[in-house]
Symmetry: C2
Subunit: 432 residues, 2 copies
């Protein structure tokens, strides 16, 4: 095992507590023979198992499987490539590495015939990658969308419940241990984007990396945005959305992956996913809509996923055979975000005088952005400030951004209060 | 392929439409070489593929995998045993056969080294068996509970929404094609019981057959029961519940599997699962609580699960290796239902006179059934009929049944309106 933090500690505990059961399931004892950590003196409880020589450990003769729970790109990448080249199978929870350079790992695994499993890298304990990779291997997945980052979900839930600002909610999340001292990976959406890249790759049999994922975090989500959403019977969630777009005329079939905050109907099941929980909807042509829900992070849940993979790899070693290889045969083009159409909710402070609505509506039309609904409130007879809310039909981000830029410069517009994406997940026929 | 009804027809369609994709995923073309049906003349569209000689087909040299979608015990069992003995792998959706005699199939598969996959047998398109068997192989599953029969869920949903009687709701379900002409397998709970046996076997590494599953259907659920549940902010669902009970003193660890209607809180996510949808909660020690949701039946969703298995089996054939074998090493004793404690909601018509409550409470106490809550309504000053509702703490079925029998015979009791199990699924910490 490489690393021994929260997840690693739980892996050690479960390996010891369930030794007999794991052996029965794997067909052979699953024995921990070494743990590489940076500071061995901090892990006295591991006795002689502990070492600072990670590189030596991953190529040792008595090692069949390397479990990596260090995280981050290096030294994890170098160590796992060494392990795979030496024919050791790998079980990893490292979403950042897989999303950035999963291809190198997959190629190394294929070259030596080793296994590469990474269920724990997305949505913690929720079995999601195996269903995508194996259960739905006979179906055409069209969409994967959900909440895959517990920290941002906790912050947005807190803002929704208490009306707190982003800064206040982040402070509470940090105090309770849901956010790290440097929260950037979570709140800027990078963690969710890594997961989206992994999900899109598996769902669409296409190599999608974190660089392909359009990524917006939640720092800009304001209490006013939350209130605007509530006014529409909606809540704001940070969503990871991976979609396949069918061919259309000369435009070939393509895929897209994006992470951004979005308004979703308060009645949608995803709206009820609170705190540190994750939930992911998968849509496939024959299967229809599926939902997976559970704990997306934490030591024990993540260790459960690691151990499930470990048993699978051990069983492959025992009875022969190998898990599914990386499947990228489809190689579909990845669509740039500027061309991915979504709906928008635009909230403006405007002067309440004749012609304002017409001018603004004209700008939307001029940019080819079709308006679905308009609501104006709070205008005073003297032409004082009013709130104008515009909800659009689906429009490309580039067109919407250009529209908002022009509108913001209009005399009659005092300010752009909020611009939010709207996801009508319910339209796809979610029951319940 | 054996059989070509609703599911089989979809399997054929998808095999044809996705031939290129399936070949890329399996590592070799997946070709349909024969379809055995009882009346070949009805399947002219299959041309020369169709045959009435099922036994000849399953042992043919050019057959690697047998997909069985006939259903029922015979001739499916004989044909699949022949196929497995001949080294053909099997993909089946046959819950009744697996629940009654899965051991014979598993042994035949082990003897010849063939694969036996059956994801489609439980919860249609929802990936559930593979997560239980593989993703959670490193964890200790403590409970599997959910809605696994769409027909009864449709009927109970209709009764709840419209106040219809069981007979009226069944008639509607039959008219809309959700219930078969002979609805017994669904409404008497046998279908759900087969699924519970399969789920319990996988979850607890113990052979559980349909004969081990306590099974009550929904025929006796009355409009009054539905109303009584609504009065408690609950709904009635037909649940399949598989539980592991830890060792306690001299009593060894054991498992139980049961299917019965139960009151669950209206706020629980399972309460929102309407119509023909299925949803299953899985609880494991490290993973915590997981939920799986989707379409539990229908041609295309079931075919999706069949094809996922088919690709897995084909890949095993192509790259070598074999799927997980049946795992029954734990061999835990199966607890008889009389000793499985659940909570109860008992609704009585009583004479509203002094001493009635005391007498009734005394009978509960005498049988060791502890009362959690009592509510009396509708009494008239002249001692006219009143409604007395008693909710118990967990009690063994035998003790509750004995209590109700005595109470029903009391002078002051005009009638036992309803006796319903209560499942506090929310107590286990479901979020959302």
């Amino acid at each position: 095992m490489l690393g021994c933090g929260t997840v690693g500690g739980e892996v050690v505990r479960l390996l010891r507590e369930q030794a007999t059961e794991l052996a029965a399931r794997a067909g052979a004892p699953v024995e921990l023979v070494g743990v590489a950590v940076r500071r061995p003196q901090r892990h006295a409880d591991l006795g002689e198992l502990v070492t600072a020589d990670a590189s030596g450990l991953v190529t040792r003769d008595d090692v069949d499987v390397v479990v990596e729970v260090i995280g981050g790109i290096e030294p994890a990448r170098t160590l796992l490539l060494e392990a795979l080249k030496a024919g050791k199978s790998v079980v990893t929870a490292n979403k950042a590495l897989l999303a950035e350079d999963g291809a190198a790992l997959a190629e190394a695994a294929d070259a030596s015939g080793a296994d590469l499993y990474y269920e724990a890298s997305v949505a913690g304990a929720i079995p999601l990658l195996r269903p995508l990779r194996e259960s739905l291997a006979g179906d055409r997945i069209t969409r994967v969308a959900g909440i895959v980052n517990g920290t941002t979900n906790f912050i947005l839930s807190a803002m929704t419940e208490s009306g707190a600002s982003y800064a206040e909610a982040l402070e509470e999340a940090t105090r309770l241990g849901y956010a790290e001292a440097d929260p950037s990976a979570d709140v800027d959406g990078y963690d969710a984007a890594s997961k989206a890249a992994i999900l899109a790759s598996l769902a669409f049999h296409t190599r999608v990396t974190s660089a392909d994922v359009h990524c917006e975090g939640i720092r800009e989500v304001s209490a006013a945005d939350i209130a605007a959403a509530a006014g529409m019977d909606c809540v704001i969630k940070l969503l990871a959305i991976c979609e396949r777009t069918p061919a259309d005329g000369d435009t070939p079939e393509s895929v897209s992956a994006r992470v951004h905050p979005a308004m979703i109907p308060a009645s949608h099941p995803l709206a009820a996913v609170d705190g540190a929980f994750n939930a992911v909807f998968v849509e496939a042509e024959a299967a229809g809509q599926l939902m997976f829900y559970g704990q997306g992070a934490g030591g024990a849940p993540t260790a459960s996923a690691v151990l499930g993979d470990l048993v699978a790899v051990a069983r492959n070693r025992t009875v022969g055979g190998r898990g599914p290889r990386e499947s990228t045969y489809a190689s579909l083009p990845v669509r740039p975000m500027g061309t991915v159409p979504t709906r928008y909710h635009v909230s403006l402070d405007v002067a309440d005088r004749a012609g304002v609505l017409s001018t603004i509506a004209g700008e939307f039309a001029r940019h080819g952005v079709s308006i679905a609904a308009v609501r104006q409130t709070g205008g005073r007879p003297d032409g004082g400030p009013a709130r104008l809310v515009v909800v659009t039909h689906t429009a490309p981000e580039a067109a919407l951004a250009a529209t908002v830029e022009v509108i913001a410069g209009l005399d009659a517009v005092r300010g752009v209060e909020s611009v939010l994406r709207v996801e009508d997940l319910g339209r796809k026929g979610v029951a319940g």
